[in-house]
Symmetry: D2
Subunit: 342 residues, 4 copies
């Protein structure tokens, strides 16, 4: 380290050029801290929203971006008991939210109000970190914190993911692909909606039992009903909305559940649903905002047991972080966009 | 009976004059039937919607209206085991839905696809009927089936009604007043919203801890937050929506639940919610469509144990059914509008 | 049929010779009945308990035994809407229990208080019957009603069957093998306990990740803990108890769930658990008594989606019903004992 | 403080004389600590078990006993944000267990592995403490942590406490009386069992609808069934067991829940239940071990909203701690035994 380490800082907003690579003082562990050499990080929609200030939680000035990443522990504070040097760890999205319900004092997030993963090193309280499944590559392990846990909370905490039930996913971003993989792991049938026919084969290879094109079929809600003998989907992981919410309601079964991700909000967004879409439905709407450390740990247990492999869209070198952001924000991805460690 | 009995029939739609008093052949019990002498019936919004054809389920031609009513068993079929002459009974809204989840083959409703309570006599399969709590007057007992069970499903099945939690109700119709009473029975604090200041005292007398005027305070969602130390309501019984849904979301706590009644749909209705109202909320939306016979029985047990008295707005004689409908549809009620038996 | 049909009747107790093949009058459909030509039936422990009168519910005199079986509809009553001749159906264990909670008036059981499947024909109300998955052979489809639903209720209704969690099963009877198959379908890791080492390979072939010998390892509870990194099993399907209950408690995780089948009771049985086994456990005990028609339908959906194949131990011809009982009661089975149709 | 403060220490076991009053160095706040002047503390069965070493968790040498107590904040560390001097606080039983599920690293308990409340001062991390309801006296507020939360977890987390349901409590200790009060707050009917007829009136005054004598009526399980129209109790708060567990099973309703407190275990205890008591019951058994800080906070909200007053059996001066222990361990109490602050 020689006294200085490299880290990107979010210095000005709205343009990826505002994320600037800087030298920082070498971090030192307090008694309960671990120092982690970052090996890979990955991008989520929240990172684009933080950049353009549409995210509900304002970023700390000059924060290091990105919640998702993985690295090895290189030093530990004197009171640390959970980790030792050499352990491979990732962070928990709401660093201090361990289990149960979140509350306002637990709102701090890696890569937003706390320094994140787009750096050579990250210093974390040992309680913020968890082990990662051994079979994962560093690129795969760099995608668990936000994308993985969001999909896990949507599927595993729904009470609706079980054999004989159908799960509907929208799109091919990281959360959607995780949702497909998790839904299959829970024994569900999966219908995957995409706007690109050329992605159908990859969705099927990932486990999707049916693929529909929601751009080419404006009333795709009814298409989902046809594919389910008129019953509809028991769980809809709504990663696109709010525009798609009306069709999602039509696609949902009588007691279906629509999971609406919380980053789908924002000042510009607006829900509009025609009464005919909801007047005879008992479907519920549940919000998900990533999850707790316990959710992350439960997901990791399942990923390890099933040797599940997260889907990587593309890997960029550490120095090309701006290009990675641009690629991610163009939106035509299939899985996670990763930035390798410095 | 002398061979003929009186019953109102819904013969033409859109005007209360289409509900016509007729003589019908005296009904006779099949093996599992009970014959009930109706003593009182009551009106619900669904009855107005059935009349103007905005209800999701079309009425059977010439059906006897009204789901809610009470009477005494006067004859029983040869295989009847649940009742004997003299028993006081009411019907279950979805006559054949006993417990668990509803399914399409259980959709028949009293006063819509099955003959209802606006008659001298009603013939029911013994499985469609339940005993009513002894302490209730006939007028009170005539309000359980739809209004009571709807409020009960909203409150009791929420998982959110418990001491220390706050329930928000909207308006002074039958469902809203039941919801206030039930919420107090569950130990909750109640905030009742009304558009009429003169009703505040009666709401307080019924148990409301706070009364707000949602017409005079357009941003009443924030008023609810103020009254809950910034936390919001844990349960919102949304009997007015969809227009009020945006403020209900603002009023709800972080993990709050908004119960949206299913009759709040209909072709003309449309949900519009600004993104700022929902972008940082984890509140869920649950739909309720009355409930099963098991819900009705559970509610009756609770009403009996607490000697709860339903609120009667006004009682009309049997011959003034049209006037009762008109009074009800003007909307300015406080509790249930009852029509006495013939 | 020519006026008469064959059926076994339970005429005297305690000895299989008391189950006698008789000629009965040809059954005729009432308005809501279906007449089913039975193609196969199967045995459950409850059938042995009914025979020796240790079952909680006394059998009707001369009842036709066996709850589990499958056949084709050959005639339907005038009001039947759910089925048509040619449909392949099975019955629901508690014939009248459709969904939700059971209550005393729904206690009637096929093969106990209602005529069962050990006959050429069975007459059922159409509400008692359900379709069976198409991919199943008649022998496989004859095992769903009791064994299948019991295992399904144990696993699917536990809330504990999910990827990353461990399910422990005991023995190789029909319920245990179904539980293994279902647990795998839910994405769980399975530890299967048997007293016979020679069955280990077949258990593994069925999906068991680990097999232990609970007879050779008296403290097998701790063996389960070792196999789960000290955590214990999240779900224990207790098909043997009550003797095994103490070790099951030791095997269970901190928040584990032990499912205790209700036929495990009986006058002779007695639970004895040393305090050291339960003094530091938060594990809960849940009872299961087969399930409702909705459970049967949900299971069938899952079996169809996963093309799951029930395990048949041995098939006996219709005339050898006594030998089938004797083989079953000797207890050394691997899966279901089936009796072919007449 | 003048450099020294008084505290009882648990120095030797099995005899109350092993709890010795000592002078300790004045404690000083670390950055996240609060220093609390203790005003009252109270005894729980776990304190007697810690003394005689029958408690599952071994006490730290020379630990200050008692989990339950209340005091005022007199100093705060530099990073403290939750409290300020003058705030009245109590501690959370498992000091670090905030919400969700407990795990082994959260096992530390006040008055066992961490210094407890039988002292002039207690130093706590600010995360271990919560505000207490304003209307409570210091003696009442000293009983929340263990007794209150145990009863709250038993009742509030059961899903069975609702109007129309019946809760059965056993005995007149602190947990039992809290359970009666909470069950009434949830709208339940309460049957309270005691072995002392002379306590019946006080139980009724506290809210019990029925009082039975479980010592005078050995088959009191059936007495509970009689008092519930044959249905049984929906929730049994089993504070006495394991000897009473058999009758509790008989007393429970078909889908009843028996809450078995975890301190009811211990090496000497042994569950023995005759098969006839459980062979036809679907009742479940749930374990409770106090609860999390979130449970404590939820309980306090409810206590504050209902102005509930905990029941104090007797208050001893600080210097008479030994006498308080002896009185408590004789067992014939009605509510909580409190020791006033120094």
């Amino acid at each position: 380290m020689e006294g200085h380490v490299k880290a990107y800082q979010l210095e000005t907003f709205n343009n990826v050029e505002g994320i600037i690579l800087r030298e920082r003082d070498e971090p030192h562990c307090g008694p309960t801290d671990i120092l982690v050499r970052v090996r890979a990080a990955s991008l989520n929609r929240r990172d684009a929203m933080i950049l353009d200030r549409s995210y509900p939680l304002p970023a700390r000035p000059n924060v290091v971006p990105l919640s998702d990443g993985v690295g090895e522990v290189v030093a530990v504070g004197g009171n640390v008991t959970r980790f030792k040097p050499g352990d491979r760890v990732t962070g928990s999205y709401f660093a201090r939210w361990r289990d149960g319900r979140i509350s306002p004092d637990l709102i701090d997030q890696l890569g937003c109000t706390l320094d994140g993963m787009l750096a050579e090193y990250i210093l974390m309280d040992e309680q913020w970190a968890v082990d990662v499944p051994e079979h994962l590559s560093r690129e795969e392990a760099a995608t668990l914190t936000c994308a993985g846990v969001t999909a896990w909370s949507a599927v595993a905490n729904s009470g609706a993911a079980m054999p004989g039930n159908t799960v509907l996913t929208l799109g091919t971003g990281g959360v959607s692909l995780y949702a497909i993989q998790f839904a299959k792991m829970f024994g569900c049938r999966v219908i995957a909606a995409t706007s690109r026919n050329e992605k159908a084969d990859r969705l099927r290879a990932l486990g999707a039992d049916e693929v529909i094109n929601h751009a080419a079929t404006p009333d795709w809600g009814n298409r989902v009903r046809e594919l389910t003998a008129g019953l509809g989907a028991d769980l809809v992981v709504e990663t696109i909305g709010p525009d798609t919410l009306e069709q999602s309601l039509i696609a949902a079964s009588l007691y279906g559940q629509i999971v609406l991700l919380i980053t789908r909000g924002g000042k510009a967004s607006r829900i509009e649903i025609d009464g005919s879409a909801w007047s005879s439905s008992l479907a519920s709407i549940r919000r998900v905002f990533v999850g707790s450390r316990a959710d992350l740990e439960g997901m990791n247990r399942a990923i390890a047991a099933h040797k599940l492999r997260p889907v990587i869209d593309r890997v960029f070198p550490f120095g090309d972080a701006h290009e990675a952001y641009r690629h991610f924000m163009r939106g035509d991805v299939f899985g996670k966009v990763v930035i390798a460690g410095a």
